[in-house]
Symmetry: C2
Subunit: 443 residues, 2 copies
C-alpha cells in the first residue's frame, strides 16, 4: 500500500478524553475514531489489526473443530422470554421496537439464538458433537463506556456454542476450547492465564476467564507465577484426543480473579516466591452450563437408548475488538505501539527519505515491488513528509520493520533496516533487506 | 471439511413460506435460517458463499484504489439532523433510544457518518482523491420484508464514499467505481447491466443501478441487447487513467429501469431486434451527489488557491448478502443451485459411496488430502447416507465438481468425476482426478 493513497490520519497530540495508554495510542495512530459513547469507527490501520486478530481466532476455532456460521445482530425478544433472560438481563440490553411494534434487541450474546438454530435442525445424538461459532458485532449498553474499545458498547466478539449428549462429552468440548484459546492468544504474542471465574449472567457450573497481565488491567488477579510462563498446548495438538490432562495441568495451579480469590488458599497452596498479585485484562471467557438454555427452550436430542434429553451446552467468548487494545496494553513503549508480528497492520514499511530523488524512488519501488510479490504486507511511505515525522508516525503505529532508503545510502549501495521492538539499525544492500524480510515474515 | 463434522442441515421439502426460487433453494440447501421477519442466520454453507462474494468485492474495491475501514452499525441521530435526513428517512430507519435516552439508529446507509469521519481528519486537497469503503451490516425496516435475503431487513452491504476537490475529479471517481463494479459482478459469473437510475433518498445528479437479468427480477428493465454481452473493462484496467471512454462506451446505448424508462426514446434509439424488455435484480447502485452532504455538514477542504469549499462526494453500494440470492436466481436448474466457480461454497466434494469399505476410504482420504494440500476448498462426504441422498444434497447445494469413489471403481482403479453444470460424468484414475481439479480450481 502506498501511503500517498492510503488514509492514515495520525494525530500530533494525545486526545484528552483517553485515560489509558491503548486508547491514547489507538487514537494517535489513527486506528479508531469515536462516533458516540462506546461506539467507534475502525480506521484503515485499526481495521487491518482487527482483521488479523479475527483471522487467528477463526483458524484456531476451525482447528479445534468448531464450524462457522453467522447470526444476525438483531434478535427477537420472544426467544429471550423462553429462557427467562429478557427481563433479567437488565439495562445493558439494547431494546428496540420496530415499525410493527415488535419487541427486538441488539444481541449482547447469543445463547438463545443458537439454541433456537440448533433445535430447528438437530434431533439425534448422531449429529453430535457440534460446536458452532460466529464472529459478529454485539451491543451492551454499558452505563459508563470508557477506555476506548476496551470497554465499548458496540464490540466484535467471537462466540462459540457447543452441543453434546452427555456432561462428560460437554466437558471435552470445554477442554477443546480451553486449549484452542491458549493457542489463539499465544499466536498473538500474548501470555493469557486461565482463571477460574464467576459465571455471571451466562450461568453454569464451570467457567474460566483468560487474563492477560497488564498494569493497566481492569481487575485484580492472583496466580502462581508458573502459570504465566507455561507453554500453550501447541498447534499440533490432537483435538480428537482426551484433553483432560492438558486442562488439569493448567488448572492444578492457583489462579483466580478477584471475585473468586481465596487469600487463605492462595497462601497455603502457592510458595511465597511464586505468588503473583497483579492486574489483568479479560480477553476470553468460557462457560459450561449444561441444560440451562436447552431445558427451558426444549432443545432435545434422542440418545442411543431412544430417549430424549435436553442437550448439554457450553459457550465460549473471545473479545476480538478488545484484543486490539489489550495487545497494545501489553506491548508498547514511550514511542508508541510495538505490534507482535502476527497482528501488525503492516509487517514492514519502505520509507523514502527523498521522494523527489529519482535514484531513491527507483530503489524504493524495487524493494516495495519485491516484498509485495513475496506476499509481505508492506506499506510504502512515498509521501513528501519530513523524515522525522515519518519515523514518528511509523513507530507510533508500531510497524515491526522499516526499510529506510535515502540518497547517501543509495550512493553507497545500502539501505537501513530498523527493528521497532529492539531499536536495532542495520545497513545492508537492498537485496539483502528483501531476503531478510521475505525470510522472516514473507507469505 | 469432513461432512460428518460439518453442519449442513439440508431440508427434504420446500418450505411453504418461500415464494421465489433462490429463497426456496437457500432454505432447502441449509444456507440460511430465518430468525424473524427479514432477519436471517447464515448457516455454514451460506456463510461460505457470503464470504467468497465479500472477498471478490473487497479485491475489486482495492484494485480501484478504495481504502477499507469499518463504521459501526449504531449511529447517533444528531448526525442525521445535520444533513436533514433524520425526519425525512421515514419508517425504514430503525430508531433506537439508549439507557440515557439518547436517540440513535441502526444505520441504513452511511453518508452522514463517513462525512463526519472525513471532516474530522481531512482539511486539504492534498489528501485527495480519497475513496473509503466498508462492508457492514445495515438495517432497513421494510414494511413487508420478503423473498429471503433478497429483500431482508438486516443485510450486508459494501458502501464506498468518494471525496474529491472538483466535480470533474468526482466524476472520475464515479467512473472508477462504475468499472470496478462491472469487473466485480463479472468475476461472480454475472452479467450486470448498468442502467441510468433514479437517485431516491440518497439524492444527487447522476446515478446508475447495476442490474442482473432474471425472470424473477423485482423490476422491469429496458435496454439494448448489445449491453448484456459487452465485456467488462477487465482486471488489467489502469484505474489511474481517464476512464470516461469506458463509461461513455457503456452508457451510450439505451438502458433504463422502469422509473427512468422513456418508451419513445427506446423505440427511436434501439433497432427493434435489439430491444430487450426484461426483469432484473438490482445488485449495485452508485451515486454522484456533489455537495449534498458536505455542504450542510461543513466538510470543507482547502484548494490550491487557498480557498475553502465543500468536498465533492459520491457513494457506491453493492448488496453483498442480496448477491447470494441473485446469483442463484441467475444460475440454477430443477435439481438445485449451480454455483459459478468463484463463489461456490466448496469447489469440489469427494463422495464416498461406501464409508464402511476400507479400500474406498483409503482412496477418498488420499484424494481429499491431496486436494486440501493443493489449496482446493473441498468437502468430503464421509457420512453413512445412501448414495442417492448424497447426490441430491450436493447437487442441491451446487457443488461444481464431485469426485465419486465406490467399491467397483476402486477395483477397476477409477473414480467418477461429475460436473454439476453440464451433468457430464467421466471415469478416470484418482491421480488424474486430482490433477484435473488442481489444474482447474487449485489455489
Amino acid at each position: 500500500m502506498r501511503l500517498s493513497r492510503y488514509f492514515l490520519p495520525a494525530l500530533r497530540e494525545t486526545p484528552s478524553e483517553a485515560q489509558i495508554v491503548s486508547h491514547q495510542l489507538m487514537l494517535r495512530a489513527g486506528m479508531i475514531k469515536q462516533n458516540g459513547a462506546g461506539i467507534y469507527t475502525w480506521l484503515p490501520l485499526g481495521l487491518r489489526v482487527l482483521q488479523k486478530i479475527e483471522a487467528i481466532v477463526r483458524e484456531e476455532q476451525e482447528r479445534a473443530g468448531a464450524v462457522e456460521l453467522l447470526m444476525p445482530t438483531i434478535q427477537q425478544a420472544e426467544l429471550w422470554r423462553e429462557s427467562g433472560r429478557y427481563e433479567a438481563y437488565g439495562k445493558e440490553m439494547l431494546r428496540i421496537v420496530d415499525r410493527h411494534e415488535r419487541e427486538m434487541l441488539f444481541g449482547p450474546t447469543n445463547e438463545e439464538l443458537i439454541t433456537d438454530v440448533f433445535r430447528s435442525f438437530v434431533k439425534s445424538y448422531k449429529q453430535l458433537p457440534l460446536n458452532l461459532y460466529h464472529i459478529q458485532w454485539k451491543f451492551r449498553d454499558e452505563i459508563r463506556p470508557r477506555f476506548g474499545v476496551m470497554r465499548g458498547r458496540e464490540f466484535l466478539m467471537k462466540d462459540a456454542y457447543s452441543f453434546d449428549l452427555t456432561p462428560d462429552a460437554a466437558r471435552q468440548a470445554y477442554y477443546r476450547m480451553f486449549c484452542a484459546y491458549l493457542n489463539t492468544f499465544s499466536r498473538m504474542g500474548l501470555k493469557a492465564v486461565p482463571m477460574r471465574a464467576d459465571t455471571g449472567p451466562i450461568g453454569g457450573d464451570l467457567s474460566h476467564e483468560f487474563i492477560i497481565l497488564a498494569d493497566t488491567g481492569e481487575s485484580a488477579v492472583f496466580c502462581d507465577r508458573e502459570l504465566v510462563d507455561m507453554a500453550p498446548p501447541g498447534l499440533d495438538l490432537d483435538f480428537q484426543s482426551d484433553l483432560k490432562p492438558e486442562f488439569d495441568r493448567r488448572t492444578a495451579l492457583y489462579a483466580a480473579t478477584e471475585e473468586m480469590h481465596d487469600p487463605a488458599r492462595f497462601e497455603r497452596e502457592v510458595p511465597e516466591e511464586r505468588r503473583l498479585a497483579a492486574r489483568g485484562i479479560e480477553v476470553g471467557h468460557i462457560f459450561y452450563f449444561g441444560t440451562k438454555y436447552s431445558a427451558p427452550m426444549k432443545a432435545h436430542v434422542t440418545g442411543p437408548d431412544g430417549k430424549d434429553a435436553p442437550v448439554e451446552m457450553g459457550s465460549y467468548g473471545v473479545g476480538v475488538s478488545r484484543l486490539a487494545a489489550a495487545i497494545i496494553e501489553a506491548s508498547h513503549d514511550e514511542r508508541g505501539i510495538i505490534w507482535p508480528a502476527a497482528v501488525a497492520p503492516f509487517s514492514a514499511a519502505v520509507v523514502s527519505l527523498r521522494p523527489d530523488d529519482a535514484s531513491v524512488s527507483t530503489v524504493c519501488e524495487s524493494v516495495y515491488g519485491a516484498l509485495l510479490k513475496a506476499g509481505v504486507d508492506v506499506l510504502y511511505d512515498d509521501t513528501p513528509e519530513r523524515p522525522g515525522a515519518k519515523f514518528s508516525t511509523l513507530e507510533l503505529a508500531g510497524i515491526p520493520t522499516l526499510v529506510v532508503v535515502g540518497p547517501k545510502g543509495v550512493k553507497a549501495g545500502v539501505v537501513e533496516v530498523r527493528d521497532r521492538a529492539t531499536g536495532a539499525v542495520v545497513e545492508m544492500s537492498a537485496e539483502a533487506a528483501i531476503q531478510k524480510l521475505v525470510g522472516t515474515i514473507g507469505g
